[in-house]
Structure formats: structure tokens, C-alpha cells
């Protein structure tokens, strides 16, 4: 049952994703890519949970996963913000 529910969420998310991203102007493609890339660092949730595994090797895998996911999350969001801060309008306010 739970699996079916997850599957249901998955299918709905596909449509949501296609709908959300479909009309992004090309000048935002790079920030969109690095920003969505940061979101893919969400596997950090699984990585954190994995550290609960007992046994040395499981912990090693978990910690490595945490470190790599964090690189993805921190680096991705920061670099996207840096880029978007540069996008300026020519209109005087």
C-alpha cells in the first residue's frame, strides 16, 4: 500500500515537473539547472538516515553520502544565488 502511495506521488510529480519547467525563458536556463541540481541533493535525507546503520562500513557509506550530498546542496544553492544576483534590469527604479 505504501509503495502504491509513493508511486502515486511519483506519477503526479512527473506532470507537475513538466508543467512547472515547461515555460522557462532561455536566459534562466543556467540558474534553473544549477538550482534544480541543488534540489537533487535532497538525497541528503537518505544519507543522514543511512548513518543510523550499525557497523563500520555502513557508517562509512553514510558519511560519504552525507558529505557528497552536502557539496551538492551547499554549492548548488550558493552558486545559483551568486548567478541570480548578477541578473539586473536596465530599467531605472
Amino acid at each position: 500500500m505504501t509503495m502504491l502511495l509513493l508511486l502515486f506521488i511519483f506519477v503526479l510529480s512527473i506532470f507537475l515537473g513538466l508543467e512547472l519547467i515547461g515555460k522557462v525563458p532561455s536566459q534562466l536556463h543556467t540558474p534553473l539547472m544549477s538550482g534544480s541540481n541543488a534540489i537533487s541533493g535532497i538525497s541528503i535525507v537518505g544519507a543522514l538516515a543511512a548513518t543510523a546503520i550499525h557497523g563500520t562500513f555502513g557508517t562509512v557509506l553514510g558519511v560519504l553520502a552525507v558529505a557528497f550530498a552536502t557539496i551538492n546542496v551547499v554549492g548548488g544553492y550558493l552558486v545559483t544565488d551568486r548567478m541570480l544576483a548578477m541578473f539586473k534590469t536596465g530599467k531605472k527604479d
Binding site: F10, I21, P25, L28, N37, I44, A47, A50, A65
Partner: protein, 459 residues
């Protein structure tokens, strides 16, 4: 507590959705990114409430990863952005692969669905990891950007995919005894990532990066099924979909199918069109170019990867300002695949303080190109090659281009007469209204700018 955590996951999924939506408009993009970051923070905090976690090691991982990520994001130059995004894609893919692996260590006897999810998380995560590393190496010029092809490449790839799938099926049927098989799948997938990207040439990197972006999302999605977590599934799917859409946009902008990009090794063979290129190349000096620009009332710049290489974006902006002071209307026409990643040129010009209203797409300018006095092509080649329109035998035929050959005058800034990445000759250089301004793009632009300044000082 579990309820609270799950509610927090739902909120963070909503924040991701709003964040992505806001990333689609320039005015709201920066706030959108922050909202999505808040969603991420919330998901992390909620997970830390789970209990039973190894907090000491978590802190170690967070500090190391955070420091590397922060340093990379702050230190990277805007011209190196494609490499950076490739590396981030890779680390996300690797993290998802490790999550799948670790889950198997925790429970070596998972159910069928979980086993399938572990298999996919490991497979896609590993391909995203090594594929991104190769993409990074090509972009950073640590290895040749040329496609690497060898005999029997595709059968070898097919064999690896087939082998991984067979092992995966055995793994799903008997997971508890199949640990060695999972390890073999990991190794095969890592190799597959390398083999999948080496035959793809440097100019096709926008497509590869988009695709790797998509894979890193799909890997997170699979990891979500592994640990039965809805926020991973929502977020991973959103990223997978966005990467796929970008991939599609890039393919369309090159008029190529995804299979063609992935397997053809475009540019490795010079399949020049049979149409004879006629006419002669007419070089121009910076001084003469200045006189033409001085009289122009409408100027478009067409930047390409060469502008990034020459780091000419600031010089271009300076020249554009002088042109505007001189009364000309200035726009920048940006082809979707100009540069080495989607939107690459926009970021570089934004860095140089070009207002985003001046950055336009080919369709905005092409219909009125005849009204443009001067089109200045800076380090772009294939995206302005009229053979894409005129020569049915050209490998570029059918690719949407920027019709700079319809402008009254076209300046092409170029180091030499070498053909573009695709190895296809460019008839644009031989058109009667084309003038070649040879030399380093940054130097040429700066020379033009100083001509304007001298004239202003003399007046």
C-alpha cells in the same frame, strides 16, 4: 514525532515546487532559489529529529561537504560555470548511489520494490557520477573535447547495459545472496558513465550537462523509493523532469535527436557539405570597423563560446555602452546552445552588468534582421552558419540559426579561418556583406572601444 517529520517533508516539497516555479521568472528567480533552499534546510532538520542517527559522523560529513561546496561556489569563475555544475551533478549522483548501497547494508533482504529501487539508484547514480566527471574533464580541458570513438563501442556499451540489467534482475529475485552482484553492478555502472560521455564532443556539452542533471534527479528519485520517502520522490522527479525538458530544448536547438547526440560522435568525421563555398574572405581593420559601427543605429552582438574563452564579456559591455551613447540600439542575440551549457552566455553577460532586457532570443531578431545595421559575431560559428538554412547536404542543415547574414553588415571576430566545432565550413565568411576582424576577440573589441573614446575625446 514521525508525523511531525512527515509533515515537515510535505512542507519542504511544497517549498521546492514554489521555488522552482519562481525560478522560471527573472524577477522572482533569486527569491525562488532561497525558498527552495529553505525547503532543503527544513528537510534536513526534520531528518535529524529521526533519532538513532550517528550525529558525530553527520557533523563531520556536513562540515566537510559544506566547506567544499561553499568554497567551490564562491571561488568559481562565471566562465567555469559549466564545469562546476557538472561536478555538482556528479556529487549528487554519487550521494544517491551511496544511499542505495548503504540501505542494502542495513537490510540485506529488502522487498522486491526496494531491490528494484536500490538497483536503479546505484545504476543511475553511478552513471551520473562518472558521466559528470568526464563532462567536467572535457569542459575543463583536462581531456580533449573531441569525441573518443573506438571500434565496437556501441556493442560494448550494449553489453554493459545488458549485463547490468541481467545482474539487476538476479539481484531483485535473490537480494540476500546477491551482494557481489550488486558490487559488479556498481562497477559496471561507473564504467558505463565514462563510456557514455567520451564519444560526445565538446560542443554537445549543453545536452550532456542537461542529461546528467536529469540523471542526478532520477537517482534521487530512486533513492526515495529505496528509503520510502516522499520528499525525495517529489524533489527527484521535479529535477529529473526539468533536466529532461532542458535536454529536449537543447536537442531542438541543434535540430538533432537525443540518440544522434549520444551515439553519433558528431564532429569526429568531417562530413562537409557538398555545396561549394564561393566568394572571398574580406578582412577588415579595427579602424574601418569603427567607422561602420559609428554610423550604425542598430547593432546586435552574437556571442558564442569564443567570447567565454577570450573572457571578452566585459569588453563587449564597454563597447555596447559606447555604442548606446552614440545613439545606437544594442541587443545581444543568444542562441540556446551558444556556449557549453544552457544559458551560459546569459550568465556571462549578466556578470558584465548587461541588463537582461537586452538579451534576446533568435526568434525575436531574425524576422527583422534586415533592419540591423551591424551584427557582431564574437566567437560563435555553427549557430550563425547559413548552411543550416541553405545547404541540404550540410550536417548542420535544419538547425535553427541566427540569420546574421541578413544584417546590412556582419563582423565576424575570429582568431583564424578554422571551421567551427562541427568541422563544417561556414559560408557566412564568404558572403559579400561579411567582414572578418581577425585576432583575439577581447583585443579587437577593446580596440574598437578605444576608437570610440578617442573620437569622443577629440570632439
Amino acid at each position: 514525532m514521525t508525523t511531525v517529520i512527515n509533515l515537515a517533508y510535505i512542507v519542504s516539497a511544497i517549498l521546492f515546487i514554489f521555488g522552482l516555479q519562481m525560478l522560471g521568472r527573472v524577477e522572482s528567480a533569486r527569491r525562488g532559489n532561497m525558498i527552495s533552499a529553505v525547503g532543503m534546510l527544513l528537510a534536513i532538520i526534520a531528518t535529524l529529529l529521526l533519532g538513532g542517527l550517528d550525529y558525530v559522523w553527520i557533523i563531520v560529513g556536513l562540515v566537510i561537504g559544506g566547506a567544499i561546496g561553499w568554497w567551490a561556489a564562491v571561488a568559481v569563475k562565471m566562465t567555469q560555470m559549466p564545469e562546476m555544475v557538472a561536478l555538482f551533478n556528479g556529487s549528487g549522483g554519487l550521494a544517491s548511489m551511496l544511499v542505495g548501497w548503504a540501505e542494502y547494508i542495513r537490510d540485506p533482504n529488502p522487498g522486491v520494490v526496494t531491490s528494484i529501487a536500490i538497483f536503479f539508484a546505484v545504476l543511475v547514480g553511478a552513471v551520473a557520477f562518472t558521466g559528470s566527471i568526464i563532462a567536467w574533464a572535457k569542459l575543463a580541458e583536462r581531456m580533449a573535447g573531441k569525441p573518443i570513438l573506438f571500434k565496437g563501442q556501441q556493442p560494448v556499451n550494449a553489453l554493459i547495459v545488458g549485463g547490468a540489467l541481467v545482474l539487476g534482475i538476479i539481484f531483485v529475485i535473490t537480494p540476500s545472496t546477491a551482494y557481489p552482484l550488486l558490487l559488479v553492478v556498481i562497477v559496471l555502472s561507473l564504467i558505463l558513465g565514462v563510456l557514455a560521455v567520451i564519444p560526445i564532443g565538446g560542443a554537445d556539452m549543453p545536452i550532456v550537462i542537461s542529461l546528467m542533471n536529469s540523471y542526478s534527479g532520477v537517482a534521487a528519485l530512486a533513492a526515495g523509493f529505496v528509503i520510502g520517502n516522499n520528499v525525495l520522490i517529489v524533489a527527484g522527479t521535479l529535477v529529473g523532469a526539468s533536466g529532461l525538458i532542458l535536454t529536449q530544448i537543447m536537442c531542438k536547438a541543434m535540430n538533432r535527436s537525443l540518440t544522434n547526440v549520444l551515439f553519433s560522435g558528431f564532429g569526429s568525421v568531417t562530413t562537409a557539405g557538398t555545396m561549394k563555398v564561393e566568394g572571398e574572405v574580406k578582412p577588415i581593420t579595427a579602424e574601418d570597423a569603427y567607422y561602420i559601427l559609428e554610423a550604425a543605429s542598430s547593432v546586435v552582438f552574437v556571442p558564442g563560446y569564443g567570447m567565454a574563452v577570450a573572457q571578452a564579456q566585459h569588453a563587449v559591455k564597454e563597447l555596447a555602452d559606447l555604442l548606446e551613447q552614440n545613439g545606437a540600439e544594442v541587443r545581444y542575440v543568444i542562441h540556446p546552445v551558444a556556449g557549453r551549457m544552457p544559458g551560459h552566455m546569459n550568465v556571462l553577460l549578466a556578470e558584465a552588468n548587461v541588463p537582461y532586457e537586452q538579451l534576446v532570443e533568435p526568434d525575436d531578431v531574425n524576422p527583422t534582421m534586415e533592419m540591423v545595421d551591424v551584427a557582431v559575431v564574437i566567437g560563435a560559428n555553427d549557430v550563425v552558419n547559413p548552411a543550416a538554412r541553405e545547404d541540404e547536404t550540410s550536417p548542420l542543415y535544419g538547425m535553427p540559426i541566427i540569420n546574421v547574414d541578413h544584417a546590412r553588415t556582419t563582423f565576424v571576430l575570429k582568431r583564424s579561418m578554422n571551421p567551427g566545432f562541427s568541422g563544417v565550413d561556414n559560408p557566412l565568411f564568404f558572403k559579400p556583406n561579411t567582414r572578418m576582424l581577425f585576432g583575439d576577440a577581447k583585443t579587437s573589441i577593446s580596440t574598437l572601444a578605444s576608437e570610440f573614446k578617442e573620437a569622443a575625446a577629440a570632439a
